[in-house]
């Protein structure tokens, strides 16, 4: 069983997010970067499948500038066997079709049985890379995995639907699955893992090209506004108005 796990380095949820003066992207200098949360779960799922099978290979694949080697090392420290770094000068395209093509080109000769990726990235949150990539590589794809079961050349995936519903689907291999956070308990790397990661192989490759059909116009911090509305009338009217406001205006009900 050969499994690729796509991991992305994203700003941590508590990291400061300074915006570049031209509003094109965040100022990367002051950011605390971490592994994208759902990618961490995807990696754990892959490692567990490998451990259950007793054999196989887990390969961490990431795209971005040199700084992303931190999350690549983290993946190797946790137990991935080797890594592929698709090296770009910038954070990469925000067009998921471009990103997915670059991953697909990098992986097309590897013959992976499974490609796991996080459900979506915590920075731009397109949620499409794993799915498009599966299509580009001619693989069966499933999104939003809450559980997986591998056996007999198949993978069974429990998919999360709306309102607490879920469905089981069975996919033939090879397959590309996007993983939902919370389906397992990601491990903390042992010291041996951390030390061993230094000796593991990271293949650095150039990204293939691609015409971006999407781009960011402007990045900015949402402006918060304070508005006070006094609700008047009898108690019944007040309650009615309040419920109406909460339901239709601020949509919290």
């Amino acid at each position: 069983m050969k499994i690729a796990v796509l991991v992305k380095q994203v700003p941590g949820s508590e990291s400061p997010l300074p915006i570049q003066s031209d509003q094109s992207w965040v100022d990367e200098g002051g950011i605390a970067y971490v592994m994208n949360e759902s990618d961490n779960y995807a990696l754990e799922e892959a490692l567990q499948i490998k451990e259950q099978n007793g054999e196989g290979e887990v390969v961490v694949v990431s795209l971005g500038p040199d700084r992303i080697q931190k999350v690549i090392r983290e993946g190797l420290a946790k137990g991935a066997d080797r890594a592929i770094h698709i090296k770009t000068d910038t954070a990469g395209s925000v067009d998921p079709l471009v990103t997915a093509s670059q991953f697909a080109d990098a992986l097309k000769d590897e013959n992976f049985d499974l490609i796991f990726s996080g459900l979506q990235s915590d920075d731009v949150g397109m949620g499409q890379t794993g799915v498009i990539m599966g299509e580009l590589m001619g693989m069966a794809t499933a999104s939003l995995a809450m559980a997986t079961e591998v056996g007999d050349g198949k993978i069974k995936v429990k998919r999360e639907l709306e309102a607490g519903w879920f469905q089981w689907v069975s996919l033939s291999l090879p397959a590309s699955i996007t993983i939902q956070s919370g389906l397992n308990t990601p491990r903390y790397p042992s010291l041996k893992g951390i030390m061993g990661a230094k000796k593991k192989e990271i293949t650095v490759i150039e990204p293939s090209g691609g015409d971006a059909k999407q781009s960011l116009d402007k990045v900015y911090v949402p402006q918060s506004e304070k508005q006070t509305v006094m609700i008047e009338g009898s108690v019944d009217q007040q309650v009615e108005k309040l419920v109406d406001t909460m339901r239709n205006d601020i949509k919290v009900l």
């Binding site: 508590e14 990291s15 400061p16 971490v34 903390y188 042992s190 010291l191 951390i194």
Partner: protein
């Protein structure tokens, strides 16, 4: 005194007994030799004055349980005297016509002391037996949730009975023998006890008296020969293993400061202790020094609140493990099971707050807490098996430089609206003021930081903070067992210290204090680090600040473990408190204070994860504070404050008790 036949018999018995004892003793030291870090025996033995002085003064016995300690001292002194008595008695029996300085005042004094101490030992040991088997002092047992091997639960009792009976019979028969001797030779003013007892033998024939004297001799000395081979198995071995352990003690910068691990060591197969042979030799010797008195568990915050941990059980389990596997383990066989299976459960290992009470209380210099820290290192570094919440804390420290996981750019926010100099602006300063993560991110912590800064400004101190350049010292990481993360944090901070040529540090966080002063010192960065309590106390003494003595309500003070037991400072915070107390108000002490203070429950990483077994430690301590009748509890540690504030809320005592840091009480009055 003895007949020739008796003499031959005695020599044979001595050879057999000593031979058997020798075999066991050798194995015992071979077991100790199985440990990882060797004991430097030459260095240890060179410290014989230290061992001797502890042995003779018995001073470590009086720290906790002074009454029992006094009885023990009587028994121990009596026994020390008996070392001489037994030699003289053997000479008396074996050398025809030998009498120890008869009709000489030195001989008389000797006989008087023997007579007196025989009674002291008999009464003392009898009291011990009564306390264990009749009145059943609950401190002598270890409660159920604690992992204590079945053989130990039974064995400690049996061993105590054997040792008790042995001493009573050995000393008793020596005493009876002496009374027969008096009956034969006539009353002896130097042996009032024996003389008194000799009256009981009035009317016995001379032959019967001689028989009695021989019986006394044989029972007294024969019992020693009988006991000798058992001695290394019994906890009575503490008699000399205790002082030896004291001499072999590792000098640590603080009880929780372990040696720095070489993480780059390519050949290292093991970090921390998974199996007993991974523990240093000194910590195996600990098990032989332990008399199983359970003093360590008397004030252990985990044990006292019903958790799975008893520091005593660690040593007792080790000892019984050695006893049961003596032959094979001493000959080099691997110990099969991991420590968590038989020495200390995992939950127990995580329950330790590293408060240091067990080490403080131990009369023979044992360090059960250090075993726990080593086990944690294995669980974290090798097994990656530790509380989930601790994992989040590691990630937060690694990613954001603080265990709260808040933005590193918000670290100096507490200074807003205040004039607090930053190193990056000032370049250098006499003192680095280290607010620490709690002082930067916790709301009450920020109050403390602002108070300290206000005091320093008022006193005109040349200081600066690192502000956003500061990052977690790595205390929690290190105590939880994550040496790797600790070293990463240390390197970052030490770089800054070098950049700004930092030599002196003031901090209100006792955990940062211990780490900066001791753990960084162990790495090689020597800093002069003082706690804010010491710093403020000095400011007051030097007249740089003079707070109003306007606190008109009684205050009780909660000692922080890492200021007290780990740093040895008990007076400074109290001096600071006294400086603000009004005329009719007092600092009232809790029953457990200073060296015996009871932990708040947050140390050793317990701030960050929850052990749900038993009562909450902070509630236990908070209730103790309430019972003093004071309306305020003063702390000198941010973690303690958080724990007290939390207990105040969960017990619904918001109205009854307020929590303040000593710095706040001062800052409000200048």
């Amino acid at each position: 005194m003895l007949s020739n036949l008796e003499r031959i018999l005695f020599v044979i018995l001595v050879v057999v007994s000593m031979g058997l004892a020798w075999v066991t003793f050798r194995r015992m030291f071979k077991v100790i030799g199985r440990g990882s870090d060797p004991i430097d025996w030459a260095k240890a033995l060179a410290k014989w004055p230290k061992g001797l002085s502890v042995f003779l003064s018995q001073k470590t016995l009086f720290k906790t349980r002074p009454v029992v300690g006094a009885i023990h001292a009587g028994v121990a002194w009596g026994f020390t005297l008996y070392l001489l008595v037994n030699v003289i008695d053997v000479l008396y029996g074996m050398v025809p016509g030998f009498h120890f300085l008869p009709n000489h005042f030195i001989g008389d004094i000797y006989r008087f002391f023997v007579d007196f101490f025989s009674m002291v030992v008999l009464v003392g040991v009898l009291l011990f037996v009564v306390r264990r088997f009749i009145t059943k002092d609950e401190r002598l047992v270890t409660n159920e949730p604690v992992l204590l091997s079945e053989s130990a639960r039974k064995g400690v009792k049996r061993d105590s009975l054997i040792v008790g009976v042995f001493i009573i019979l050995h000393v008793g028969f020596r005493f009876v023998g002496a009374s027969f001797e008096v009956a034969i030779h006539g009353a002896d003013w130097s042996q009032p006890g024996a003389t008194l007892l000799s009256a009981a033998w009035a009317g016995l024939s001379p032959d019967a008296l001689v028989f009695g004297e021989h019986l006394g001799w044989w029972m007294a000395l024969g019992l020693i020969l009988g006991f000798m081979p058992y001695f290394p198995y019994s906890k009575h071995a503490h008699l000399f293993m205790g002082p030896l352990n004291y001499m072999a003690q590792i000098e640590r910068r603080s009880p929780s400061t372990l040696e720095i691990m070489d993480l780059e060591d390519e050949d290292a197969e093991q970090f921390g202790a998974a199996k007993v042979e991974h523990l240093p030799q000194k910590e195996l010797l600990d098990a032989y020094a332990c008399i199983m008195c359970n003093r360590c568990q008397d004030g252990c915050p985990a044990y006292q609140t019903g958790k799975e941990l008893s520091p005593a059980a660690i040593e007792i389990n080790k000892r019984y493990y050695f006893n049961e596997h003596l032959k094979e383990f001493s000959e080099g066989a691997d110990s099969l099971d991991s420590l968590s299976k038989w020495m200390l459960s995992e939950e127990a290992a995580w329950s330790c707050t590293t408060c240091g009470f067990c080490i403080e209380a131990c009369p023979v210099g044992n360090e059960p807490m250090v075993d726990i820290l080593r086990m944690r290192q294995d669980l974290v570094l090798m097994e990656s098996n530790f509380p989930r919440d601790a994992m989040e804390v590691f990630d937060k420290i690694e990613n954001y430089g603080n265990p709260w996981g808040m933005s590193p750019m918000d670290r100096e926010k507490w200074t807003e609206g205040m004039d607090v100099p930053k190193m990056r602006e000032k370049g250098s300063a006499e003192y680095l003021y280290w607010a620490g993560c709690s002082g930067a991110y916790d709301d009450r912590g920020k109050d403390i930081s602002r108070s300290v800064a206000k005091i320093m400004n008022e006193a005109g101190v040349d200081y600066a903070i690192l502000g956003n350049e500061e990052t977690c010292t790595g205390d929690s990481a290190r105590r939880i067992g994550n040496e790797y993360l600790f070293q990463m944090q240390a390197m970052q901070n030490m770089e800054n210290f070098e950049k700004y040529d930092v030599k002196k540090v003031v901090t209100q966080c006792p955990h940062c204090l211990t780490t900066l002063k001791n753990d960084y010192g162990e790495i090689g960065m020597e800093l002069e680090v003082v706690h804010h309590s010491e710093f403020i106390a000095d400011m007051i003494k030097e007249g740089k600040i003079s707070p109003d003595k306007s606190l008109e309500e009684d205050v009780t003070f909660h000692d922080a473990c890492y200021v007290g037991r780990h740093h040895g400072e008990y007076d400074a915070p109290r001096d600071v408190l006294e400086s603000v107390m009004g005329e009719d108000a007092n600092v009232v002490e809790m029953p457990r204070s200073k060296e015996e203070s009871f932990c708040c429950g947050a140390g050793g990483g317990n701030m960050w994860y929850e052990i749900n077994t038993g009562k909450r430690i902070n509630v236990e301590r908070f209730e103790e504070a309430i019972e003093t009748g004071a309306k305020k509890v003063a702390t000198s540690c941010n973690f303690c404050m958080i724990m007290m504030e939390d207990a105040r809320k969960v017990t619904g005592q918001d109205e009854t008790m307020e929590v303040y840091d000593i710095a706040e009480l001062v800052a409000d009055r200048i």
